[in-house]
């Protein structure tokens, strides 16, 4: 494994502060790891423009890489191309479901017309949206009409 590959693996495996069941690599937040004259540069992209976790994520990457022996670490915020929930892979979607969060539908489904969301607990599609904005910007609040449990849905973006 090259030094850069190791840096990338370390950065990508950091748990997301708001969704600790997933790593920032699995969420698609880590875009690129490159060697520059200033040292290792990690490019990250926000899931939302106003995502308040970006500062914490940048600090965590820097700390992990410094601890692993990298001497100089720079974090760069990239917004082009914009993050999309389509970057969450199939395995990561299963992890979300296992953590009680309904994964996002593929992007073809427009945000203006939410599709049927399956309950992450009982898989029933008899569900309803309680509020389009949940405890974090990336999630909405739903309830299952079959098992009667409330659950969070990772919004399609």
């Amino acid at each position: 494994m090259t030094t850069l590959e190791r840096a990338r693996e370390i950065a990508a495996s950091i748990p997301d502060p708001e969704l600790p069941a997933l790593s920032i690599g699995e969420l698609g937040i880590v875009r690129n790891v490159t060697a520059t004259t200033r040292g290792v540069e990690v490019a990250i992209t926000p899931t939302y423009n106003g995502c308040p976790a970006m500062g914490v994520i940048a600090l965590a990457i820097e700390a992990a890489l410094l601890e692993a022996g990298f001497e100089s670490v720079h974090i760069r915020l990239v917004r082009e191309p914009g993050w999309t929930s389509d970057w969450i892979g199939a395995e990561a979607r299963e992890k979300l479901r296992a953590a009680g969060i309904a994964p996002p539908a593929p992007r073809a489904a427009s945000p203006s017309a939410p599709t049927r969301i399956a309950c992450p607990r009982c898989a029933s599609t008899s569900t309803e949206e309680l509020a389009p904005f949940g405890a974090t910007a990336c999630k909405s609040l739903w309830r299952c009409l079959t098992c009667r449990e409330p659950f969070e849905h990772f919004k399609c973006h």
Binding site: P46, Y48, N49, G50, C51, P52, R79, E80, P81, G82, W83, S110, P111, S112, L130, A131, P132, F133, G134, A135, A137, L141, K155, H157
Partner: protein, 253 residues
């Protein structure tokens, strides 16, 4: 001693500051509801929408800083300009008013912003195109949320309907300004704003029809926000917003 900054406003910088200021000021207005919203879900929704807008403002200020190249950062633009240097639309600085005022404005602005950023996603300026594609999706959620409330208020009780209609009468004079064209030199970088009006009217009239509300005829339109001619309300907002930063320059947590 003057604490304000002088900004070298090329047309691109001016455009970016205008859109950043729209988002920042409206985000601040929504944040004023924190702790006062009628129900918990609405508390979260208003705070989330404010967060989206303030995040959009930060990204746009960063782009403006890069375009200006004058060593200013997002904090300098937000905290160290006076009201006459703000380039936001007048509609966003209007006081939050009651819940109907807030939600009607949110619907009118979000429908506009969604259409604007959708069109801007085809910008020839790559950082702007990427930002616009992301922002259009965020604004689509704002449209959905605000529309639900406008329908609920308009098609609700006599009291809620009357308040929603009064909110429309108050805000209608600020609509025209939203469709002012940007500088000719920005063609291709920035969408042709006046052309968005038809789609905006169609979407707004369809929403108001469902809500049993009417888009009022406007006799006199207010404008001047992009040129820094603001009402009293912006000065008050900035006093609250900027006072800490200016009283303790350079303070950190």
């Amino acid at each position: 001693m003057s604490v304000t900054i002088a900004v070298a406003e090329t047309p691109l910088v001016r455009f970016l500051l205008g859109r950043a200021d729209d988002a920042l000021i409206l985000g601040h207005r929504l944040s004023e509801w924190t702790g006062r919203a009628p129900i918990l879900e609405e508390e979260l929704a208003l705070a989330n929408m404010a967060l989206d807008l303030i995040g959009q403002a930060r990204a746009l200020y960063s782009m403006a800083a890069e375009a200006e190249g004058g060593g200013h950062d997002e904090d300098a633009y937000a905290y160290l300009r006076d009201d006459a240097q703000f380039r936001n639309l007048l509609i966003v600085e209007q006081p939050r008013g009651d819940f109907a005022d807030t939600m009607v404005r949110q619907a009118l602005y979000a429908i506009y912003a969604k259409l604007f950023w959708q069109a801007a996603s085809r910008s020839t300026h790559p950082p702007l195109a990427g930002f616009a594609a992301k922002t259009a999706k965020e604004m689509a959620y704002h449209v959905r949320h605000a529309s639900t409330w406008v329908i609920r208020l308009g098609d609700g009780t006599e009291a809620s309907r009357a308040r929603a209609q009064v909110a429309l009468e108050r805000l209608a004079p600020y609509v025209e300004e939203m469709f002012e064209p940007e500088d000719d030199s920005l063609t291709g970088i920035v969408p042709a704003v006046p052309e968005l009006r038809e789609d905006w009217e169609r979407e707004v009239r369809s929403l108001l029809g469902e809500a049993r509300l009417n888009l009022p005829d406007v006799v006199f339109s207010q404008r001047g926000g992009r040129a820094g001619r603001h009402g009293e309300a912006l000065g008050h907002l900035l006093a609250v917003f900027q006072h800490l930063h200016r009283s303790h320059p350079g303070a950190t947590w």
